[in-house]
């Protein structure tokens, strides 16, 4: 065996090397060859250095937690069934699924689920549809309903105006240029805007903005914050939400990701 072959054989020597006999032969050659011993030693030093560097890559802080959140969020949709939501939504969604076992595409799935979810919201919001002026909308319920990747504008009807004829009004304290027009109707008098923004590391963050007449929101739920991000941020699986009041409307903003709502703050506005 010549020097080049011996060195090439030994530099890949590991217990699971497929040609053990060649390793033995190369080792025998190196025993009697000083230049090969030198080359092998240099290669081992190089290998050790490269191996150390390959493994010495700092892992971003919080990566494990972000991955666990992402995996958990993804687990809330399984085979098109919305899980981890309120029992009523899950029951309706599952009954839709059972009754439509032959449903093919995921798009139809999501359409049915979101319609089912919208029905549940209507039922849960309850009597305000009969008594439209009754303040009964629970902000946490509606936020939970839309703070998910399962609902898209294609699943909901277009929203043209509120029951009193007024048009949805954009908030003044939040960036709104990315809102997808027209709004969608979540229920009779709840307008829902979908949007996307660029997040950290060029990720795409999904956003929702609810515009709800203040008179329809449960009195105990009406936020005290009078501008975007002036109030507390709440965390739902995969989404951050915040609510505030401007004029006659309550706004609820939901954005996917770990607390990226600040990206929607207009420049020059005071950060909370």
């Amino acid at each position: 065996m010549n020097c080049q072959t011996a060195q090439q054989t030994l530099e890949l020597a590991r217990p699971d090397h497929p040609e053990g006999a060649a390793i033995d032969e190369a080792a025998e050659h190196v025993k009697g060859c000083p230049s090969c011993r030198t080359a092998i030693r240099r290669q081992e030093q190089l290998d050790q250095r490269i191996s150390e560097l390959c493994l010495d890559v700092p892992v971003p802080m919080g990566l494990k937690e972000r991955l666990l959140v992402a995996v958990e969020a993804a687990s809330h949709v399984d085979d098109g069934v919305v899980r981890g939501t309120s029992p009523s939504v899950a029951r309706v969604a599952n009954s839709v699924r059972a009754g439509k076992a032959s449903v093919g595409t995921r798009r139809r799935w999501l359409g049915m689920i979101s319609l089912a979810a919208a029905c549940v919201v209507a039922a849960g919001l309850g009597f305000w549809s009969i008594w439209p002026n009754s303040p009964s909308i629970d902000l946490d319920d509606v936020a939970s309903l839309v703070a998910t990747d399962n609902i898209g504008p294609e699943h909901l009807a277009e929203f043209t105006h509120f029951g009193n004829g007024r048009l949805p009004q954009f908030p003044a304290t939040m960036i709104t240029r990315m809102l997808v027009d027209p709004a969608r109707r979540l229920e009779n008098d709840v307008a829902l805007y979908f949007f996307k923004v660029t997040g950290p590391r060029r990720t795409v963050l999904n956003g929702r903005l609810l515009v709800i007449p203040k008179r329809l929101v449960k009195l105990s739920d009406v936020p005290t914050a009078a501008s975007f991000l002036a109030g507390p941020t709440t965390y739902k699986t995969g989404y951050c939400t915040t609510a505030w009041v401007e004029g006659d409307f309550v706004y609820v903003c939901c954005l996917s990701g770990e607390n990226e709502l600040h990206r929607l703050m207009p420049r020059g506005a005071a950060a909370i």
Binding site: A39, S51, C54, V57, L67, V71, E72, S75
Partner: protein, 188 residues
């Protein structure tokens, strides 16, 4: 938490760091590495039923990582064949004191089919058979690629010069057509 969710969380705990490091060495970018790592676990969750032997979960995850990375590449990349062909002689100078950036630059200039096995080799976590299975090539092909890749790194890191300006590759994601010289074997 149901069974699958527990298993997924366990896989994240056990392999996220090593997967991230692999993704970083493949992509050369922290941001891309994190995205790739997340994509691996989400894909694994979606295709959980494909994992029939949980003892092979690690190899399975790394296979997903490599496949996901390959999908993102806009074009196959390679370096000019002569750089891989010119194996240094037995009396080549020993390695100089190179740093992480110089190592990554050298790795970036390797075609992916050489970069992946050499990174896995240096992680010292995978047998030759596991590397071959991940890349879906025979063990002999892996040995050959490793020998060529290590020779390339040896030469590059011994001189510790910045990559040639004329090199078509500065980043694994460089777009554009590239031609494999005939001397770089792509045989399975």
């Amino acid at each position: 938490m149901d069974h699958r969710a527990r298993k997924m969380a366990d896989l994240v705990e056990r392999y996220y760091a090593l997967l991230y490091r692999y993704a970083y060495r493949l992509t050369g970018s922290e941001a891309d590495a994190e995205d790739l790592t997340q994509e691996v676990f989400l894909t694994a969750q979606a295709k959980w039923e494909q994992l029939r032997d949980e003892t092979k979960a690690r190899s399975w995850l790394f296979t997903i990582a490599r496949n996901a990375y390959l999908k993102e590449l806009r074009a196959p990349v390679c370096i000019v064949s002569s750089t891989l062909d010119e194996l240094p002689g037995a009396d080549a100078d020993g390695p100089s004191d190179f740093d992480d950036e110089q190592l990554q630059n050298a790795l970036n200039d390797l075609p992916e089919e050489f970069r992946s096995p050499v990174v896995l080799f240096y992680f010292q976590e995978f047998s030759y058979r596991e590397i071959a299975e991940q890349m879906d090539v025979p063990v002999g092909t892996i040995m050959s690629r490793l020998a060529r890749a290590k020779a390339f790194l040896r030469e590059r890191l011994a001189t510790v010069e910045p990559p040639s300006v004329s090199s078509p590759l500065r980043s694994p994601t460089l777009a554009g057509p590239s031609v494999f010289a005939s001397s770089i074997s792509r045989t399975r």
